[in-house]
Symmetry: C2
Subunit: 328 residues, 2 copies
């Protein structure tokens, strides 16, 4: 079992590499070789799996072909330009999120034509493929009508996954990941950053700002759950997935108020007192167009599992990612 | 008002050129110049509108830029590789149906950035963006989950129409056309060809073969209605269309049995006796995955109108296209 992770420098990619190194196996088979790739060469986690690291830009000629020269059995395709950047940089977003993906898929197709190569490809898609108006919860067969360039790009790749799989060139599975909470590290400028920040900063005794109302509802899962989704997708029976290859992943549907209540249960009112409410019209407007909750029946039936409460999200953070000294 | 028709050699493109030449106006404004383009230079219909014809392959460098150099106010984008060909020729289908469209859209975007050019672009999409299982009728917000490469390619372009319009680079409208009945001319090899053939051939006293059961239901409109859809789309208020730029066009939902009854009303049992039933498993299987009827509420609200009976489809054929001597 050879594994390739594209986008292995990202938060989820690095955690996936760490887990595969620890497991030493994937889809019930020992991992004989693992390649980590990103724009800069990703760090190689310590462990016993033979692993190499490459700086690779698959928008450049020949790079995708070189990455699949060893015919990895499983390709995790997590490489992307993130939402805000893709909205600011129209050309760059299409180049990275559409053209690079298609270049990769075309390299796989050429290899398939040459020697029958048909890898399992696991793609990280996004809830941004959905745009308002949306029902609550959003069903699995909801129309993909994105309202951002990033969402458009992810929706295009989802269509390609179906067609390349139907044609037999690859065996692809796409996963629409929930918003990841609690993201480790420093606060960031993403519009969704506060969903992590209002938990992470108070847990560390730091102040945090809440830019939206407490009734805002969203769809969350932990970094650990995201890694589980990817690993589980690698081992799925493709026939059981059917022709629609991308699925919405399970998550916790919670309001911001529900997050704050869980924070109080975990760390007391001294923690929740660190949250200051400073409504921001711009962020509120962005968030208002996002889906609130999903009915991810297909993923659940196929064995994908997420946390069921914000309390669990906090526990996972404290176990996996919290800095020294933070925790109960 | 300058007009560009891409794909002007096709059956619908040629009829559109003919109508615009006759009307001399579009969207309430006189047409000052019309350009017809296709892989081979299209014939120029007789009339008083200044019109030129070009052999143009927009997959080639610089061709799209040259076509919009005069800044046409309305671009009809009908150029495509058809369904069967796109399924046989994977690379060709993506090159013509996706890459050429994107090349055109990028040329428009560059012109927009240069001088604010923002044309109305009318794109011919397809019901092939839908794949089974489908409700009957199919609502406007049905998930696009195509099961052919052609449908995938059309769905990708629909996503691009939304994003390029949202960004303000163009003012695009996509139309999912019904199956066109009665197509003039000779029988063809398309799986859908019999929907026209079982009417057209008996009307001319010729035999015709029915490869599916009489209970097969489908969504039909005349060539005249298709031209109306395109012309009407050119004049629509973009704001009234909203962010989802592609709409399913109205049509006649009829069974094959309903078609045969209308044929009998138009031309008697001597005509219907010319239809021989020869069930074909392959065609039956293909047709079984197609949608049967639609609830095109958005298009209807915006003033798109189609025939309401097969009798009307036959009347339109006899008026517009039937060879000399065919008719009541």
């Amino acid at each position: 079992m050879r594994v390739l992770i594209l986008g292995a420098s990202g938060m989820i990619g690095a955690k996936l590499a760490r887990r595969l190194m620890d497991d030493g196996e994937l889809a019930g088979q020992p991992i004989t070789a693992m390649t980590l790739a990103d724009l800069g060469a990703p760090p190689i986690p310590s462990g016993n799996v033979a692993c190499d690291s490459r700086a690779a830009d698959i928008t450049e000629d020949g790079v995708a072909e070189a990455l699949i020269a060893t015919r990895p059995d499983v390709i995790f395709h997590l490489a992307a330009m993130v939402s805000g950047a893709a909205e600011r940089d129209f050309e760059g977003g299409y180049r990275v999120n559409v053209d690079a993906s298609r270049t990769l898929f075309e390299a796989v197709r050429m290899a398939h034509d040459a020697d029958g190569y048909t890898p399992r490809l696991v793609f990280a898609s996004s809830l941004a493929v959905y745009g308002a108006p949306l029902p609550d919860p959003v069903p699995d067969d909801q129309l993909r009508a994105p309202q951002t360039s990033y969402g458009t790009q992810k929706a295009i790749v989802e269509l390609l996954l179906d067609d390349y799989t139907r044609r037999g060139f690859m065996d692809a599975i796409g996963l629409r990941l929930p918003t990841i909470v609690i993201r480790p590290g420093a606060p960031n400028a993403a519009a969704s950053g506060f969903f992590s920040g209002i938990l992470r900063e108070p847990l560390a005794g730091q102040p945090s700002t809440l830019p939206v109302g407490r009734d805002v509802k969203h769809w969350l899962a932990s970094p650990r759950a995201a890694v589980h989704f990817l690993v589980h997708a690698a081992g799925l029976d493709g026939a059981a997935v059917g022709p629609r290859r991308t699925m919405t992943m399970p998550g916790v549907a919670t309001t911001v108020g529900g997050q704050i209540e869980a924070l109080e249960r975990a760390a007391g009112v001294e923690a929740t007192a660190l949250i200051s409410e400073a409504p921001n019209a711009e962020i509120t407007a962005i968030i208002s167009t996002w889906p609130r909750a999903f009915a991810p029946d297909r993923a659940t039936a196929l064995g994908f599992v997420a946390e069921t409460s914000v309390d669990d999200l906090i526990t996972v953070y404290l176990e996996d990612d919290a800095p020294e000294g933070v925790g109960r």
